[in-house]
C-alpha cells in the first residue's frame, strides 16, 4: 500500500532520518515506537510533505509521493492526524470536518463519521477549540477520515489523553480499519496502546528502524528497553 524506501530527511545540514525502509500492507496497522527525539514526528511530517524529503522515495500503490505538496498527497489518499491534534480552533466542529471534504469532493459530512464519533454530532455547532482533549482527538480523526484516505497517519494520538479513553481509541482505530479497509501508521510511546492496536510493531532509534516484529512474536520487554530513558 505505502512503501517507504531509503528515506533520508534532514533539517538543513543535520540529518534526522538515515534511510528508512518500511512497507505497509493494505489493511494493516503499524505502530512506530520510540523515545522523544528519535524521529517519529519527523517521519510523519515528511510523509505528509510538511518537511521536504532529502532523498529516497515514498510511494503509494506505485505512485511516487515524495515530490508532491501536502494537498496533492491528501488527494492521493494520505491523511494525517498530527501530534497536538491541530484542529481549527475557532471553527465549529462541523466546519472542521468539512475542511476535509475539499479533497474528497463531497458536499456533506458522511453519516458514518458521526456514527463513529457520536459526540461530534452532539457538539457540531461548538467551536473546536472549546472541546476537551479527547474530543479534539476524535475531531482530528474525523477530519482526516473525511478526505476518504487509504492510509491514515496518526502521530502520538494518546498524548495528553486519559487512560480510559486511550482504550476506547484503540477499539475505534481497529473499527475504522475493519469497516473502511484502510492502512494505519501510528507513532506511539505508550507500549500497551501499541500492542493493543497494532499488527506490527516497529522501533525507531536515532533515525533508523532497529526492530520490526509482527504482533504475535513481539517481545514487549525488549521493546520497552528502547522506550525507557
Amino acid at each position: 500500500m505505502l512503501a517507504i524506501s531509503d528515506l533520508h530527511v534532514a533539517y538543513g545540514q543535520s540529518e534526522v532520518l538515515h534511510g528508512l525502509n518500511v512497507a505497509v500492507a493494505p489493511n494493516e496497522i503499524v505502530a512506530i515506537m520510540g523515545r522523544n527525539g528519535m524521529g517519529k514526528t519527523t517521519l510523519m511530517k515528511s510523509l505528509m510533505g510538511i518537511i521536504p524529503t532529502k532523498s529516497g522515495s515514498v510511494s503509494m500503490e506505485g505512485a511516487e509521493l515524495s515530490t508532491l505538496k501536502s494537498y496533492e498527497r491528501v488527494a492521493k489518499g494520505l491523511a494525517y492526524v498530527p501530534q497536538g491534534r491541530m484542529i481549527f480552533s475557532s471553527m465549529t466542529v462541523k466546519e472542521n470536518i468539512e475542511t476535509g471534504l475539499v479533497a474528497s469532493g463531497e458536499r456533506d459530512v458522511p453519516g458514518d463519521i458521526y456514527e463513529l464519533f457520536p459526540v461530534l454530532l452532539e457538539m457540531k455547532g461548538r467551536r473546536g477549540g472549546n472541546l476537551s482533549g479527547g474530543q479534539q482527538q476524535q475531531l482530528a480523526i474525523a477530519r482526516a477520515l473525511a478526505t476518504k484516505p487509504k492510509v491514515l497517519l496518526l502521530d502520538e494520538p494518546t498524548e495528553g489523553i486519559q487512560p480510559s479513553i486511550i482504550k476506547e481509541m484503540a477499539r475505534t482505530l481497529k473499527q475504522i480499519r475493519d469497516t473502511r479497509g484502510l492502512s494505519i501508521i501510528v507513532s506511539e510511546q505508550v507500549l500497551s496502546f501499541a500492542l493493543d492496536v497494532a499488527d506490527r510493531v516497529l522501533v525507531i532509534e536515532n533515525g533508523e528502524i532497529v526492530r520490526d516484529d509482527p504482533r504475535d512474536v513481539v517481545d514487549a520487554e525488549q521493546i520497552s528497553k528502547y522506550l525507557s530513558v
Binding site: M48, G49, I50, K69, S70, Y71, V74, A75, A79, Y80, P82, M86, F88, S89, S90, M91, E95, E98, T99, G100, L101, V102, A103, S104, R127, G128, G129, N130, R143, A144, A146, T147
Partner: protein
C-alpha cells in the same frame, strides 16, 4: 467648545456630522475588509492597498467618461457597471501581484511591508504617467445628486445613503462568502493553521491567490464609492491607508464584527470632532483614544475566546 451653540443646533450638528461620518465609515469598512482578509490570511501588510482602491476610482472615472461619450442614455446606471469593473480590475491586479511578488515573500513578513510599499510608489507613478497628476472628479448621475431634507436644519445627501447601502450589501456578501461557502471555509482553515490546512487537502497557494484578489477587488469597490466623496488623484489612496490599518488593528484582526465596530467608532469620532476643532487635532484625539484602548485591550475590540 460647545458653548456657542444652542441645544437644537448641537443636535443637528451631531446628526449631520454623524451622517458625513457614515460615508467615511463606508469607505473605511470596505478598505478594512480587504485589508483584514489579506492580513488575517497571509500576515501580509499590504501597503499598496490604497493604490488598489485608487485603481477602482480611476476605473469608475473612465467608465463614467465612456458612458458620457458613447452611451449618454444609459448614464444614470453607469455606476453599477463601474463598480463591477472596478472590482475585477483591482482583483485581477491583486492576483497578478500575489503571483509575481507576494508569494515569494510569505516567509519574510517585514519584506512584504517594504515590497508592497515599493509597489505603492510604482503604482502612484504609473497613475501619474497614465492619468496625469491633476485630480479628476467623477460626474454623478442626476438621481444621486441633491439631498433629503429631514428637518429644517438636517439634510442628508442621497449619494451618502447610496454608498452606505452598497457597503452594507458588500459586507453581507463578504460575511456570507467567508462563513457559509465552501471556499470561505478553506480560507478560514488556512488563516488558522496553514500547514494543517494543506495536510487536510486544501490547496493553500490557490486559496492565497484568490484571497489576495478578493481583498484587492473589495478595495476597488471602495474606490468606486470614494469617487463620490473625494476627487481622485495619484496619491489619494495614501491618505486612507494609515487610518485603515488603525481600523483593522483596533477591531482585532480576523474579526468581521470587530472591523465594522472599529470603523464605525473611528469614523464617527473623527467626523464629529472635525466640526469643532481642526482636522489634525481631531486626528490626534482619535489616535490617543485608540492607543489608550489598545493598551488596555491589545487583542483589539473583538477577539474570539477559545482554548489555545
Amino acid at each position: 467648545m460647545f458653548g456657542d451653540y444652542s441645544i437644537g443646533d448641537l443636535g443637528s450638528i451631531f446628526v449631520m456630522q454623524g451622517f458625513a461620518g457614515l460615508i467615511l465609515f463606508s469607505v473605511y469598512v470596505l478598505m478594512a475588509l480587504g485589508l483584514a482578509i489579506i492580513f488575517g490570511q497571509m500576515g501580509v501588510i499590504n501597503m499598496a492597498h490604497g493604490e488598489f482602491m485608487i485603481l477602482g476610482a480611476y476605473v469608475t472615472w473612465m467608465t463614467s467618461n465612456f458612458f458620457q461619450a458613447f452611451l449618454p442614455s444609459l448614464f444614470s446606471g453607469y455606476f453599477f457597471v463601474a463598480m463591477i469593473l472596478a472590482f475585477f480590475a483591482s482583483g485581477a491586479l491583486g492576483m497578478l501581484v500575489e503571483w509575481a511578488l507576494i508569494r515569494h515573500l510569505y516567509k519574510r513578513p517585514l519584506d512584504t511591508l517594504l515590497a508592497t510599499w515599493g509597489l505603492s510608489l510604482i503604482l502612484q507613478q504609473a497613475y501619474r504617467s497614465i492619468f496625469g497628476a491633476r485630480e479628476v472628479g467623477v460626474e454623478l448621475p442626476q438621481w444621486m445628486l441633491g439631498s433629503q431634507k429631514v428637518t429644517d436644519s438636517i439634510e442628508v445627501p442621497i449619494n451618502g445613503i447610496f454608498v452606505m447601502c452598497l457597503t452594507l450589501l458588500i459586507t453581507i456578501a463578504v460575511a456570507y462568502v467567508m462563513y457559509k461557502s465552501r471556499w470561505g471555509r478553506q480560507v478560514r482553515a488556512v488563516v488558522q493553521n496553514r500547514i494543517m490546512a494543506g495536510a487536510v487537502g486544501i490547496n493553500t497557494e490557490r486559496v492565497d491567490c484568490y484571497t489576495f484578489g478578493l481583498g484587492c477587488g473589495i478595495a476597488g469597490i471602495a474606490g468606486s464609492a470614494f469617487t463620490m466623496i473625494g476627487s481622485t488623484g495619484p496619491t489619494s489612496g495614501q491618505l486612507y491607508i494609515v487610518d485603515t490599518f488603525l481600523v483593522v488593528v483596533f477591531g482585532g484582526a480576523a474579526s468581521l464584527v470587530g472591523t465594522i465596530a472599529s470603523a464605525f467608532s473611528i469614523s464617527q469620532t473623527q467626523s464629529t470632532l472635525e466640526f469643532f476643532m481642526s482636522g489634525s487635532m481631531a486626528k490626534v484625539l482619535t489616535l490617543l483614544a485608540v492607543v489608550g484602548i489598545l493598551m488596555l485591550r491589545p487583542q483589539g475590540l473583538f477577539a474570539l475566546k477559545v482554548r489555545k
